[in-house]
Amino acid sequence: MIRMAGVLAVVPLALAGHDMWIEPATFRPVTGQAVAVKLRVGQELLGDPIPRDARMIREFVVVDAAGRQTVTGREGRDPAGYVLGGASVIGYWSHPTAVEMEADKFTAYLKEEGLEAVVAARERRQESGKKARERFSRCAKSLVAGAGDRVLGFPLELLAERNPHKLGGAALPMRLTYENRPLAGALVVAFNRQRPAEKVTARTDKNGRAVLSIKGDGMWLVKAVHMVPAGEEWASFWASLTFDLGPK
């Protein structure tokens, strides 16, 4: 069964985890034009630059008609890379970042990100009152020049099953996979840059599918977070997909 949800106005919590997304300098480049690829971390699509850091990059790739290539750029600089204009999917998969959080902060953050299953698991493990240590990895993708989505093989991956640029008013079916298998029960959230407080949300079904009724021009961010135990710690994966629906 596909569970659909309407538009929710969510008051952002200051303690929520931060989104990370790819923001090309333009989503509609002239073919062959060099396009700066910016990495951003923030909330509500208000983000700070992440300069290119070789030690953080697990994969930074672009897939277009020519195949799959590494996104090149200058170390330590923002924008983190450049691609040649043309229909393409850009992907960034980071090495994990370790953070430590007080118990109550961690619990509030888990609920904010729709990770109630982890809250329950922490209770079962009797560690709800303990400081939490988390290692989070980024799995960000972006669709440039009207491109449809492709599987890049990231650990947590959001895949638009229809080209978001060619929906013609229909809802957007998304598929979420963890280690290449459908992930059920995960919260998928989408929002528009112009109206970031209006969250379009849906939980994935047993096939990892969630359908999002996204309406409106401009830049969209679709995101999902998954967290698994890793010994004493928790490993989280932050998938994001950005695209821009015009006006053309």
Partner: protein, 333 residues
């Protein structure tokens, strides 16, 4: 740059999403702080616009900006003066300055306008903080012990340059004193009287005991120069009243020095050092003028028969004319 810093501080490298922001704390003088945040202007402006619902220049968001920045000393929150500056390359520099409670041992800092990790540099140490994270209490830096000597040297130089080359009026006054007589006793007595006098009024003015407006002092200084030069035309040896007058004029010049020193400002922690050094610089400047005059004309020609008619008289006339012109200018100005 930041990455290099990161390596230098030996932080575990795979750890953090480091952005383009950095903060530096300095304690320029005892009891004061200056914290500079360097960041990208555009993301900061976007976030401020989203928070306030309006667009404007960086400084126009001052109230909102303060809402996510906290600086405490020994647990007491400061309300710093904040200066905002945009650079041509898209950067923003925000400077928080002020005085902290006397004797404060530690401070904490929180910057909530970014989501990335950033370095806070304080003295020799670098602390890595997440956006929004309150730092652990950090030691308030003490200005390095060498700073007294630096202050002394700086104010000594300021005092000297206030005579040579910037204080032509004081130079002419000292030359006027020198030209009266070629006897060492004459120069010595006058210079001593002048020095003692201006030290007194400089000190009293800087401590706020004496307050005479520049509009009164400056024309009188010009008159004093004219007087000394004109008296040189009629007098060729030291009379007791001349020493008294030079002492009186010295009181005036001291107030003039105080005006300049007030504009330059004195460091609170090193007030006496700076005051003494500035005064010493002024003396050195005067002695340099006298030394130069002696080497140029006094040494070889002071005992010539034409010394008075060809050097003392014309030079004193020139000084007198200049000083009269200044007097008129300063009264009118």
């Amino acid at each position: 740059m930041l990455l290099r810093l990161l390596l230098a501080t030996g932080m575990s490298v795979a750890a953090h999403e480091i952005g383009t922001t950095r903060a530096t704390v300095q304690f320029p003088e005892v009891g004061t702080y200056a914290l500079e945040i360097e960041t990208d202007a555009a993301p900061l402006l976007e976030k401020l616009a989203a928070r306030t619902g309006r667009t404007g220049e960086l400084a126009s968001y001052d109230a909102a900006f303060r809402g996510k920045v906290a600086l405490t000393f020994d647990g007491v929150e400061m309300r710093p003066g904040i200066a905002y500056e945009l650079s041509a390359d898209g950067g923003a520099k925000v400077r928080l300055t002020g005085a902290h409670p006397a004797g404060a041992k530690t401070f904490t800092f929180q910057f909530g306008w970014i989501f990335t990790t950033y370095p806070l540099q304080a003295g020799g140490q670098t602390v890595w903080l997440e956006g929004g994270q309150v730092s652990a209490p950090l030691a308030v830096g003490v200005p390095p012990p060498a700073s007294r000597w630096r202050v002394a040297w700086r104010y000594l130089a300021l005092g000297f340059t206030h005579i040579v080359p910037y204080g032509l009026d004081h130079v002419l006054f000292v030359l006027g004193i020198y030209l009266l007589s070629n006897k060492a006793r004459s120069v010595l007595l006058q210079v001593t009287a002048f020095t003692v006098a201006h030290s007194i009024t400089l000190g009293l003015s800087m401590y706020g005991v004496l307050r005479v407006p520049a509009s009164v002092v400056e024309p009188l200084i010009a008159v004093s120069i004219a007087y000394v030069a004109i008296e040189n035309l009629f007098l060729s040896e030291l009379k007791p009243w001349r020493v008294g007058l030079v002492f009186g004029f010295g009181l005036l010049h001291g107030m003039g020095f105080a005006g300049v020193l007030t504009e330059l400002g004195l460091p609170r922690g090193e007030f006496v050092t700076a005051l003494l050094a500035f005064n010493l610089g002024v003396e050195s400047g005067q002695l340099a003028v006298i030394g130069a005059a002696f080497l140029l004309v006094g040494w070889h020609y002071a005992d010539r028969t034409w010394y008075r008619s060809r050097v003392v008289i014309p030079a004193s006339l020139l000084i007198a004319c200049t000083a009269i012109y200044w007097t008129v200018e300063r009264v009118a100005g």
